[in-house]
Symmetry: C2
Subunit: 372 residues, 2 copies
């Protein structure tokens, strides 16, 4: 279905392209997070203007509200939210793990209570796939078991094993569906243990998926350990399929991970940090609340072509933020999404021209300069 | 400066046009409120797409935050907020009256403490004009004294008299300015006393302004009394100048007031109510939270051409609202602003074609149908 095409490599960094029912995606790619059928504060047109190719939806949230019954009447998430480009949905497992109340893990799945109204639900591998099919997302993810950090080797083995069994059930259930326009990705677990990461990668690859994700990173471990695990795991994933590092990360993380061969990313950082006043630029991050911006007529980044930087000053953005105006969240988010999309597009161009190494060095040398 | 041109009358209803330094305004006109240098939730481009010709800024808020020093560096509000069409600013008096702490009225002006940081200020007639000139708004308003309702005749006389004296001081101060691209409007007070309204109108008209506002309405009085006072006062204002009814109102109010000869309006209702989930339509108002919209694939108003109605269902808008998503406030506000602007544009067309009476009857007959 996915038809991943690897176009170029520069070191371990890869540039590729794949097709979905809602259009093509060029990799490496960053997917903004649209938790509740909207990328917070932005319209679909604004996402497109920023060059967003694909967004991520959260199955846990959408399952609870507005629910499959409602979204099903729109034949899926695309028409419901007025977004006609590709969508990837997660399995819901991570949010059960992080948000829900009274969750209980059994072989059947996660029993949990809604964080909204306390209602009781069972998220099984089959249920997760069923909900994602109802959302009609282009890429759907297997239900896996996340681990807190730190976890013991025994806990990591148990999570790995249930993740493998659930991946099999997800694939089996998905194959029973008659109308499969979606691609199902497998997820590798294994905690912070290199040998378990290898075992998980082998087991998931044996089941066989059109794409593979590295799960269970950025769950509280030190940055160096996260990078060590990613560097170890990414080369274990089939080279002819896209590799997706879930829930990561900072601009620095993305550049490092692309350098290790990662193709896909999602993270709330550009959107959430925008709502906290933190703006990303090539030279570093700045906080829009800073008093030194009070009268500053310059844009956030004079070299940035986003709507915000073309029309608004630091002084105005600071004013909107201090006054808690809705437009503040919009304008900040537009800039940060533009920054992330542009960063990844820049990496892709560098890979295609065989100069990723130079790109990486230039990126770090400028970003290391002190914040404004 | 303003060069008001009365193009047509249909009964007492008027269609006109006037020029400002930032472009022409066709009347009757509705001005969305942009309190803190932004019409809440919308971008300037979205306002233009809705056909907004002129917006209102609040002098009290902008004076306190970000302050004249900041906005002055941008040569005024237009460039600061990226809005290149006309702006009208109020005097700040009404917000001192309704928002500030420890306010004290003397002949000099309003002494008050900021509702933001408690700092002490004096808003005199001269200071109000000075701040509005710094904002470089196209239409600036005289400082007047608002009354609570009910007020005694003695209170109304005192307020009327100080409003007349302050109007004289505002005009005198404004004439000392060398670079006058702005137009200064007078404001009629007089409480709920017909003879005092007449006296105030005569005194303000004697001072002489390029436009006149009816102030002190919609301050808690019954709707019938408000309409009685407006109907009494509007014909007393010079017919060759625009007539502005401040801070009003519902769609029904606007249609009634245009029928009495009013030309300009501002009100927070379309924007504030949008953020509370209340949506205006030709058939009546609806609340987007209503459970019957849960799965409704129809737009808010199938006959509406706004961005929201073209792309989003009641079900999606309800979902966004229940999930408290920022996009909910945006989409609701876009629709309501579009509704108000379209309503007033429709009245203008009816006046120009001599059929305002028919417009009015059709409007009320449809709007009186029960809410959805």
């Amino acid at each position: 279905m996915l038809d991943f095409n690897l176009l170029a490599q520069s070191g371990a960094a890869r540039a590729g392209v794949f097709e979905t029912a809602h259009g093509r995606v060029e990799t490496p790619v960053f997917m903004p997070v649209g938790t509740q059928a909207t990328v917070k504060a932005l319209s679909p047109e604004e996402l497109k203007a920023a060059g967003v190719q694909i967004i991520l939806g959260n199955t846990y949230h959408l399952y609870l509200r507005p629910g499959c019954e409602t979204i099903g009447r729109f034949m899926g998430l695309h028409r419901f939210m007025h977004w006609d480009r590709p969508i990837l949905t997660d399995s819901g497992g991570f949010q059960v793990f992080s948000l829900s109340k009274l969750r209980q893990l059994t072989e059947a799945g996660y029993a949990f209570q809604s964080h909204i109204d306390g209602s009781r639900h069972l998220l099984s591998p089959e249920k997760s796939i069923q909900v994602q099919l109802c959302l009609d997302s282009d890429i759907i993810m297997c239900l896996d078991q996340c681990l807190e950090h730190p976890a013991t080797r025994e806990q990591a083995i148990a999570a790995l094993e249930i993740t493998t069994r659930w991946a099999g059930r997800c694939k089996t259930f998905w194959r029973t569906q008659t109308d499969r326009r979606n691609s199902l990705f497998g997820i590798v677990q294994g905690g912070m243990f290199a040998d378990l990461r290898r075992r998980s990668a082998e087991e998931i690859a044996t089941i066989g998926f059109p794409g593979y994700a590295v799960g269970g990173l950025s769950v509280g471990e030190p940055k160096a350990l996260m990078m060590e695990m990613a560097a170890h795991t990414l080369p274990l994933l089939p080279a002819d399929r896209p590799r997706y590092v879930m829930g990561v990360g900072t601009p620095e993380d993305l550049v490092a991970l692309v350098g290790m061969g990662a193709d896909m990313f999602d993270c709330v950082m550009p959107t959430r940090n925008a709502r906290n006043g933190q703006m990303f630029t090539a030279r570093g991050t700045l906080n829009i609340r800073n008093a030194r911006f009070r009268d500053d007529p310059e844009p956030v980044d004079a070299s940035c072509g986003c709507y915000t930087c073309r029309h608004y000053s630091l002084a105005y953005l600071r004013h909107l933020y201090m006054a808690r105006e809705i437009l503040a969240y919009r304008l900040n988010t537009i800039h940060n999404i533009h920054y992330y999309i542009n960063l990844v597009a820049g990496m892709r161009r560098a890979i295609l021209s065989g100069s990723f190494d130079r790109f990486q060095k230039a990126f770090y040398s400028v970003r290391q300069s002190p914040d404004r």
